[in-house]
Structures are given as structure tokens and as C-alpha cells.
Symmetry: C2
Subunit: 409 residues, 2 copies
């Protein structure tokens, strides 16, 4: 098995048989039609599909409809429509009607059925979609889609909101003399604590794979990527990860062929982890990316609880912002996760520099910790020494800029 990360990714047009397009509809009503805000991903061949959606009780209209479309057409999906600028969340029956109208318009132009189209939205909550603008935009998308890299990049750009960068990734999984391509695009910079958090990720592959296996592998990959990151601890109404597999490579991946199954999963996990990493690194007004490694916890669940308590602690995040290696706040947060942490057994490292060993501060190394936290990216390893389960989590600091950026009107 060999997985190759492409140095340049153009998004989903990097995968055989996938067409993309992006256009601007001024969904935000800012008189700025040059800003792309509507994307199309399309395969003429029907695709097997899988999806992971927000677990929020308050689900946006497109999430509700997409779950139905996935159930109905998981072996024959054709397209994804994504818009930024408006989340179509908390919009009641009108919101549902608008999703159906979007899917129907796209289906008509593409010559497929509405339930073979996913619709994804991201942006402000509580406003109705500007439907005349959307349907006009859909017509343009369906006339301009292509397999060219330019339209691949435009689709990736059209789903962005407060992101400062497009997020694309392409990997090739070599299997003997053959190969499969998996590519992904994503958006997400705030309201990010997937499980899911305002994030959209669309993944395309030319593997031939059953929808059941695709769903199983996607869920596992999401668990180790999008569900293991947090910028601000907020979970959105719209989070969605979708995969379409059109089989264009002619290579079949199944549970019976263990080697191919493992290789495909590794490729898919890579795509998800790289997109998740790009989201965190582009977190709203962040200045630090922090990898948390929680080790030797009583269970994976306990390790995750400790990681989330640390990652979501305002005091911890503020100290990172200030480049203050305040390990006391780390220990405090680990303690209130209440998984049986014993201070006297705890080791804490900044990168490879010990800050606490068996509960004893290593104050003579303080200047070294301080040097570590001056980096834009560093690792904090907390060894609880009360079990054998580990967990990796990626998070950020909290800046004054984040507060200013999100204070609204």
C-alpha cells in the first residue's frame, strides 16, 4: 500500500469522472456578485454515497432533507449543491420547501431525480434563502460545470464563509499497478467542534465500493479527524460530511479484499485528517494550533473527555494566546473532566520538554517550556498514568480578535 499526497490539489475535479462549478449569487445581499457562494459537484455515473451529519437537536433544513435523500438513493447519488452565506437553519417549513426547490431545480437541469441531489448550506442562522438568486445560479452552474481544475477550485472557494483559505486535498492510493484517487474540499473556521461543527466537507473518489462499507469507513475516519478538533467548542446546526464514489477507476474495494479495504480507509482517513487540520489552522483569528496527546487514560472516552476539557477551557486558551505555559490550568481542566485523574501520577510535556513529572513541577525547565509555546504550532502531551487508552485532539488558542470578530452587528 502506498498513499501519495498531491502537492497541489484542485479539489474534486482531481478525481476521474467528477465535474465541478462555482458561481456568485450575492446570497449575503452585499451587492458583491464576484464573491463565489454556490457550488456544484456532479458525477454523470451514479455514485454510492455516505454521510455524517450534525447531532444537534436543532438541525438545519438541508441536513434533514439530505438524510432522507441519502437513505433513498445511497446507491445512486449524482450531485451536491453547496451554498455559503446562509445556513437555512431555524427556518421552519419554508426552509424545507426551499431545500426541495433547490434539489428539484438542479435535478431538472442535470436530468436526474431530486432525491439524487444533496443540498448543503452554511452561513447565518434564521434567514430564508434568496430562492430566485439560487435558482438563477443553479442554471449557470449546470451550464458551466466541467472537469477542469479551474472549476474544481471554484467549487472549493464557493463554500467558504469566514475561512481565509480554500481547503482542498487529493491523495492517490496505489494498489499494485492500479490506483484510486480520493479528493476532498471543506469549509469551516468558527463554530467548530464537530460532532459535527459548522463545517462542510465533500469527498469524491473513483473507487468502486458499496454504500454500506463506504458509510462504515467514513464514520470511522470522521471519528479520528473532524470529531477530534475544536476551535471554539460550538457545534453547528449544519455540519455535514459527504462522500461520493463513482467507481470510475474500475477498482473494487470490499471487506473481502482486506488489503484494498485497509488501503482505501487509510487514504480516506488521510483526506479527512488533512482537511480537519486545515480547518483548525484557519480557525477564526487564532494565533496557535495545539495538538493534545492524552495518554494512559482509563478509557478512550476518558482520554477524549480530558482533551475536550482542556481544549475548551477559556483560561487554557487565553494562556496559549499569551504564550504563557500555565500548566496549572491544564491540570485543573483535566481534573474537572472527572475521569479519576490523580495529580501525583500526572506527567505533562510541552513538545518533548517535561513540565510536570509524577505531579512534580519541573520548574528548572521553565525557560524551555516558554520557548515551545512561542511557536505557532506545538504539542502538549499529558500522560495520566492511570490506564492504557490514548487520544489525539487538535485545537487552538482564543484571541481578542476572535471575540471582536464574533461580536456581531
Amino acid at each position: 500500500m502506498k498513499i501519495t499526497l498531491h502537492p497541489i490539489s484542485n479539489g474534486l475535479t482531481d478525481v476521474k469522472g467528477f465535474f465541478c462549478a462555482g458561481t456568485g449569487c450575492d446570497i449575503r445581499n452585499k451587492n458583491n456578485p464576484d464573491r463565489l457562494d454556490l457550488a456544484l459537484v456532479y458525477s454523470k455515473t451514479p455514485c454510492t454515497a455516505a454521510g455524517v451529519f450534525t447531532t444537534n437537536d436543532v438541525k438545519a433544513a438541508p441536513v434533514i432533507v439530505d438524510q432522507k435523500h441519502l437513505k433513498a438513493s445511497r446507491n445512486a447519488m449524482h450531485a451536491i449543491i453547496g451554498n455559503s452565506g446562509n445556513a437555512n437553519a431555524c427556518t421552519g417549513p419554508q426552509g424545507i420547501t426551499d431545500v426541495h426547490a433547490t434539489a428539484e431545480a438542479a435535478a431538472k437541469y442535470l436530468g436526474v431525480k431530486p432525491e439524487q441531489v444533496f443540498v448543503c448550506s452554511t452561513g447565518r442562522i434564521g434567514d430564508f434563502l434568496p430562492m430566485p438568486k439560487i435558482t438563477a445560479g443553479l442554471e449557470r452552474l449546470c451550464k458551466t460545470y466541467s472537469a477542469d481544475s479551474e472549476q474544481g477550485r471554484k467549487a472549493a472557494e464557493a463554500i467558504l464563509t469566514s475561512d481565509t483559505k480554500s481547503k482542498t486535498v487529493t491523495v492517490t492510493v496505489a494498489l499494485g499497478s492500479e490506483s484510486i484517487t480520493i479528493a476532498g474540499i471543506a469549509k469551516g473556521a468558527g463554530m467548530i467542534q464537530p460532532n459535527m461543527a459548522t463545517m462542510l466537507a465533500f469527498i469524491a473518489t473513483d473507487a468502486k465500493i458499496s454504500s454500506d462499507l463506504l458509510q462504515k469507513l467514513l464514520s470511522a475516519a470522521v471519528d479520528e479527524s473532524f470529531n477530534a478538533i475544536s476551535v471554539d467548542g460550538d457545534m453547528s446546526t449544519n455540519d455535514t460530511v459527504l462522500v461520493l464514489a463513482n467507481g470510475a477507476s474500475g477498482i473494487a474495494v470490499s471487506e473481502q479484499q482486506v488489503e484494498y479495504g485497509n488501503a482505501f480507509f487509510e487514504g480516506l482517513r488521510n483526506v479527512c485528517q488533512i482537511l480537519a487540520d486545515k480547518m483548525v489552522s484557519d480557525g477564526e483569528r487564532i494565533t496557535k494550533v495545539v495538538e493534545l496527546l492524552i495518554e494512559n487514560a482509563p478509557s478512550r472516552h476518558a482520554a477524549e473527555a480530558v482533551a475536550r476539557a482542556i481544549a475548551n477551557s477559556l483560561l487554557v486558551k487565553c494562556s496559549w494566546y499569551g504564550e504563557d505555559p500555565n500548566w496549572g490550568r491544564l491540570a485543573d481542566s483535566a481534573g474537572y473532566a472527572r475521569v479519576g485523574t490523580v495529580m501525583e501520577k500526572m506527567d505533562i510535556y510541552y513538545n518533548e520538554v517535561p513540565a510536570v513529572l509524577q505531579g512534580v513541577p519541573q520548574a528548572h525547565l521553565k525557560e524551555q517550556w516558554k520557548t515551545v509555546v512561542k511557536n505557532r504550532r506545538f504539542t502538549i502531551r499529558m500522560n495520566l498514568n492511570i490506564g492504557s487508552a490514548n487520544y489525539r485532539f487538535l485545537t487552538t488558542d482564543l484571541s481578542e480578535g476572535y471575540v471582536n470578530f464574533n461580536k456581531g452587528e
Copy 2:
């Protein structure tokens, strides 16, 4: 039953038989001996006592020792020593030794046993207490304590850390021609989400009450006050609420006398709620105090989960800071509390102005919501309409100033 709130509270010297003192020991090593940082509360008559402590796995040394002292002497406590500037947390065996040495020194000067003395600390985590300064300070306290209001105010001042104001309250509970006094002092401005959070509260009363009943009533009062507030969602290693009852009023409160028991509980709850309110109102660099009323939830636990999800959402807190009535973020947070929220049933009010009724935005009233959130203090009422349980919670916004204040060195 009549409860009178004193217009001016001098803290615990307002209660018959209680002596206080406060002194400066330069515990922070800032060459500032004028800053008070060591407090004594003392009753010559032995007191029944009750306490509520942090549930953090990582408990500071004084919390561990106080729990033992309470168990050993709950019917005969004499004193509380409180210091600010150093939390004596994550300090290992040396930290425990220092607490014992503090209690022993105070006990020697006061002529009582060490286990009849509580020791409480608040401040930075991970540093050892400067014991020579503390023991010298204890000697001064035990020579200067008095029942005068000046020393009462000094004790209240000496336990403050980042607080900008002393927090004191005194109530009188009239029972026929007799009366009981209950007074409290507290500190706490950051790392505040009790259950408990860095907060200390010391309460004194001249009621005659068993330690068992006192514990029961204190736990109930804390649940509706200190455990129903949040500034930043962080729970500390040191949180402690203590009550001493010296019986000096001669009035007995027992479960058999329902009227007296109820009246005393009301008084105690008032003291706790007023102190909790003062803590939130003095939250670090806050600009808004927000009362959340969650109504008609499936259970009290569910209502509390929704309140905490809203109160701890960074996006919600930022929007309050920006005076943006972003009800979409409220609905989103309620949804990820995952208690079965149904958007189509939800009502949201800013004070008495509806923002959402049965899931439908009341956009024509938007100017009125905007006016409400311009106030320093306002109420958000969320009626889930899926049950009959209610919960009240008090919280704050998140400002750029908070981030700057907590970024450390």
C-alpha cells in the same frame, strides 16, 4: 417570616460572637505589604459547621485537609484562615504539610485544636505557600482580631484576587420577636463555574443548628446559587463554601420546627444568591450580566444542560458583548445540549419582548430586542414547551478584555 437585607454589610462581624481580622503578607512577592491577603474568622464559642467543596479530581491541598477537619470537628469548629495570591494547588505532599502548619500555628495562637481550623487558599496554581510570611501574618491576625466592623471589612478584602469589589452580605431573619443574623463574604471573578469554581464563600450565623441540618440546608442553597452561575465555564481546584453557626442568638433551628427551618433556609439561600450575584456582576472584564430562564424542559437536569450550553457558548457570549441579539446562536446551543429540543416548539424572549414564538422569528420586533441587549443586565427566557421543569442561571458575556486579562505572563 421576615427577611431583612442590611443596606450596609461589614461581613462576618455583623454576626454576634464572630471576630475577624485581615492583614497583608505580600504572598504574591510583589513587595506590596499594604495589599491584604490573609484573613481570620473566629468564634470563641465552638460552632457547628457545614461545607461544600470543589468536585474537581485535582483538589488543592486546603480542600483535602478541610474535608478531614470538617469530618472530625463538625460540631466544634472555631476558625477559618483564608489567603489570596496562592492557591496551594498541585503542590503535592509539601502543600498538605503547609496546610497543617497553617492550621497548627493558628490553633496555637487561638488556644484551640488544629482540626478546629479551616484553611482556604485562592490564587495561582503550582507554587508553594511562603510559610514564614504566613506564620508571621497569622500571629498578627490572632493579636488584632476584633468584633469591629473595620476588621470584618478587612477579612472580606483579604480573600479577594482579581475581584474589583469586596463581596459581603448580611441578612436578619425575624422569628416572632426574636431574630437570627446570617452574614457572608466571598471572592470570585474568574474560573467561575462552581460545581464549584474558584470561589470562596464564608458564612457565619448566630443560629443554633445541628451540623447535619446545616449541611443539608447549605447543599440545597448552594445548588440554587453558586452552582447556578458561570463566568467562563472553568471549575477550580479550590472552590469552597463554609458555614459556621455559633448559636449566640440562643434561637434553635431544627427540622421539627418547620417554620424556623424554612425561615433559616430562606435567609441562607438569600445570602448565597446575593453573593453569587455579586460574583457574576464582578466577573473578569465583563460588560453584561445575563439571567437565563429555561422553562418547560423535560427535566430540571435537561433545563440546566440547556442553560449551561448557552452560558458557555463562546459565540453566544461574544454576541452579547457585541449587543447583537443573535437568537440563532441561542437555538443552536440549546440544540447541542441534546435534551430533545424541538425548534418548532421553542419561544425565546429578550426581557418581555418575543424574538421567536413556536420556532417562528418575530423579526418585526428586532429593534426592541436590540434595545434590551444594550442594557448591562437583561433576561433571556427560553420556553422549550416540551415538559414542565424550569431552571434559572446567571452568566456573563465574554469580552476582549477577558482574553487580554487572562493571557498571563
